[in-house]
């Protein structure tokens, strides 16, 4: 495995200068001198004794963002030996499946992306709808995708179909051969160009403590650093140490649903995005099958009509929710809104992102019907206002939320549980690898405070000689592309990165001939 090869794109002669890969010593670790220095030399790294390996490209994360890039590059012609994926899960869908399951999307439920957001197929054809029709031997999905959103709601695939398709594609492209399990601690620039990627391999007994990958091209797709709580709920959790009655929708919280089956419970749901919709569906499904549940849905901002002043750019809204099929208008992925955003800088870009995105949920008739039924039955109520305090009641029976309404009244809600469905942590500084990059590599932040990347997803300020650093996923939201944190957006980023790598000398741009040939190989499930 520890092959010695020229770092792709490095000037001729760099191989000799760089010296061979280093076998290293097993217990070797980073020295303080290395940790303190922004740029490392080959000699310093060799002196540390940490085993080192040369590779053309390293992708950090090993989730769907890494998968999209590895898939694209394999199809464009790179070998498994040229790519190292450094992640902490053996399946590229592991983190996604975990977050989806917690936020109440079991495998048979439908996701929120369209038929053409096909995670296992860079072409988007055949779509998930065609494949579902094929496996189910039913034209229902085809009818839906052909008439959406005019006669039917947008088609969206089942979670289980996406997972299975990614598993098949991962096996086809040799994912396991590229993957090295463990955590990436830091990426530092190399004197003379390229990067050192410092990896802490996962628990193997007797294995090296650290491993360094020397590369000209690195890619980061590490997803979200963690879950985020609303400030008042965060404060409650820290003050009381009660982590079981105030929960985040992205954390495991099955105990909430379990308790509603044993006794009557009032549950406060906070948030009005897609995850709130999922949690409401779960609670009301349980209610409709006999659990004693009363839901109080607490809004900070209540949407009671279409949003926006421009008659040509109004988003439907009612009953508290802003509605759109996907997290951005569809054309943000590859149509006129994609081009519009690319032209904008600074605040103007941030404003358009807010207008197109923000908190919103999918308009599904089954959801609004269910809410209406539950509202009539007294199982679902809405409240609007600013939270003044969240306190545990003395007898431990409930948590009391005091809410100030806009009319100036105070409203008291006593509940057994509060589910925070407002979001995941997005502050990039909270991620150790990102924090290290911000401190040592000259990278900056975009108008939304996340990692600043070019239109082709190269991290600004991180170039190192011929070396380039790229990033995709949620950490790059605020850049020139809106849908960064989505299947299709990850594939778009992968395509832009692959094309840029080809310009830098790694691999070739995918042209029509190879594209067709590779599509046929995909269809026949043959290695690229």
């Amino acid at each position: 495995m520890s092959e010695t090869r020229r770092i792709a794109g490095a000037p001729i002669g760099a191989a000799q200068e760089a010296g061979p890969a280093n076998q290293g010593t097993e217990g070797a670790d980073l020295t303080q001198a290395l940790i303190d220095r922004d740029t490392w030399t080959d000699a310093e790294v060799a002196a540390s004794g940490i085993p080192m390996e040369d590779v053309d490209l390293v992708s950090v994360g090993g989730g769907l963002g890494s998968f999209a890039l590895a898939d694209t590059l394999r199809i464009a012609g790179l070998g498994t030996g040229q790519i190292r994926v450094l992640g902490d899960n053996s399946s590229p869908t592991a983190t996604y499946e975990y977050l989806a399951a917690n936020s109440q999307i079991p495998e048979h439920e439908r996701l929120r992306s369209d038929a053409g957001s096909v995670m296992d197929n860079i072409w988007g054809f055949p779509s998930y709808a065609l494949r579902e029709a094929w496996t189910d031997k039913s034209l229902k999905a085809v009818w839906q995708v052909v008439t959406e959103p005019i006669l039917a709601e947008y088609y969206t695939p089942r979670a289980g179909q996406v997972y299975a398709s990614v598993r098949r594609e991962a096996a086809r492209i040799g994912w396991e051969d590229m993957l090295r399990l463990g955590f990436v601690r830091m990426i530092r620039k190399r004197e003379g160009g390229g990067y050192f990627v410092v990896h802490t391999p996962q628990g193997g007994s007797g294995g090296a403590k650290r491993h360094i990958y020397r590369t000209n091209f690195a890619h980061i797709a590490v997803g979200y650093p963690g879950v985020a709580f609303l400030p008042d709920l965060q404060e409650y959790r820290e003050r009381t140490g009660d982590y079981s009655r105030v929960v985040n929708a992205y954390e495991p919280h099955d105990h909430v649903y379990a308790e509603t089956r044993t006794r009557p419970c009032t549950i406060v749901v906070r948030g009005s995005g897609i995850v709130a919709s999922r949690v409401l569906q779960r609670l009301l499904d349980d209610y409709e099958s006999g659990a004693q549940i009363r839901v109080i849905h607490l809004f900070r901002n209540y949407v009671d009509g279409p949003q926006g002043d421009d008659p040509k750019f109004k988003r439907p809204g009612r009953n508290g929710f802003a509605y759109q099929a996907f997290n951005f208008p569809k054309s943000a992925w590859g149509g006129q809104l994609r081009y519009a955003l690319e032209e904008l800088e600074g605040d103007a870009r941030s404003e358009l992102l807010d207008k197109m995105g923000g908190t919103n949920t999918a308009p599904r008739k089954s959801w609004s019907d269910q809410l209406e039924r539950a509202r009539k039955a007294g199982a679902y109520d809405q409240a609007v206002g600013k939270v003044v305090s969240v306190e545990a009641m003395d007898d431990g029976s409930a948590i009391r939320t005091r809410v100030a309404t806009s009319a100036g009244d105070e409203h008291v809600i006593d509940a057994q549980f509060i589910i925070d469905a407002t979001g995941l942590l997005a502050r990039i500084e909270e991620h150790r690898l990102m924090a290290d990059l911000l401190d040592h590599s000259g990278v900056g932040k975009n108008p939304k405070g996340r990692l600043d990347v070019e239109r082709h997803f190269e991290v600004r300020g991180a170039a190192s000689g011929p070396g380039r650093l790229y990033a995709s996923g949620s950490m790059t939201l605020g850049g020139y592309y809106a849908g960064v944190d989505s299947f299709l957006g990850l594939q778009y980023a992968a395509q832009r990165i692959a094309d840029n790598l080809a310009e830098q000398g790694l691999g070739k741009k995918l042209g029509t001939g190879r594209s067709v040939q590779q599509w046929v190989r995909w269809a026949r499930n043959k290695t690229p």
Binding site: F313, P329, S331, Y339, V516, W519
Partner: protein, 149 residues
């Protein structure tokens, strides 16, 4: 689909010139028997069918301007697949009227049977190719609003 104005026009011209032309060449002989004139030859069919293709391409640019303007009223700024199919109806009628009026060249009275079969099959075929195979031929096309250049 999420076309841009240039993407619409480029994709239309490309598909008419490739899929449209190939299909017309193929289906021409089979349509001769459906012409109103019992003595019609394949050459007569081609005269009619290629006239229709020229109109779909040229007049189509005008249609695309209209579709693009309508698209501006959609929040998603997309063009549902369904629209791509049903717009064949008004377009087909307009092309038939123009052919009957002697544009782009004289084809006499438009033989409805042959015209309808040619127009409908070509339209559906182009629509099918635009909804999938194009993405395989041009892997960047779907992210560029249908622009090929």
């Amino acid at each position: 689909m999420t076309p841009t104005l240039f993407g619409r026009i480029q994709t239309r011209l490309f598909l008419v010139a490739t899929v449209g032309v190939l299909w017309t060449l193929l289906i021409g002989p089979a349509l001769a028997g459906m012409m109103s004139d019992p003595d019609a030859t394949t050459g007569d069919v081609y005269r009619l069918a290629f006239g229709a293709l020229v109109l779909v391409a040229v007049v189509g640019i005008g249609w695309e301007l209209i579709y693009h303007a309508l698209q501006q009223y959609r929040w998603e700024k997309d063009w549902p697949t369904f629209f791509g199919l049903v717009t064949g109806l008004p377009e087909g009628i307009v092309v038939a009227l123009l052919l009957g009026a002697g544009l782009p060249w004289d084809v006499g009275d438009v033989p409805l049977g042959a015209y309808t079969v040619h127009f409908a099959t070509t339209w559906v075929l182009i629509w099918l190719v635009a909804n999938g195979p194009m993405q395989v031929l041009f892997p960047r096309w779907r992210f560029r609003g249908g622009q090929l250049l």
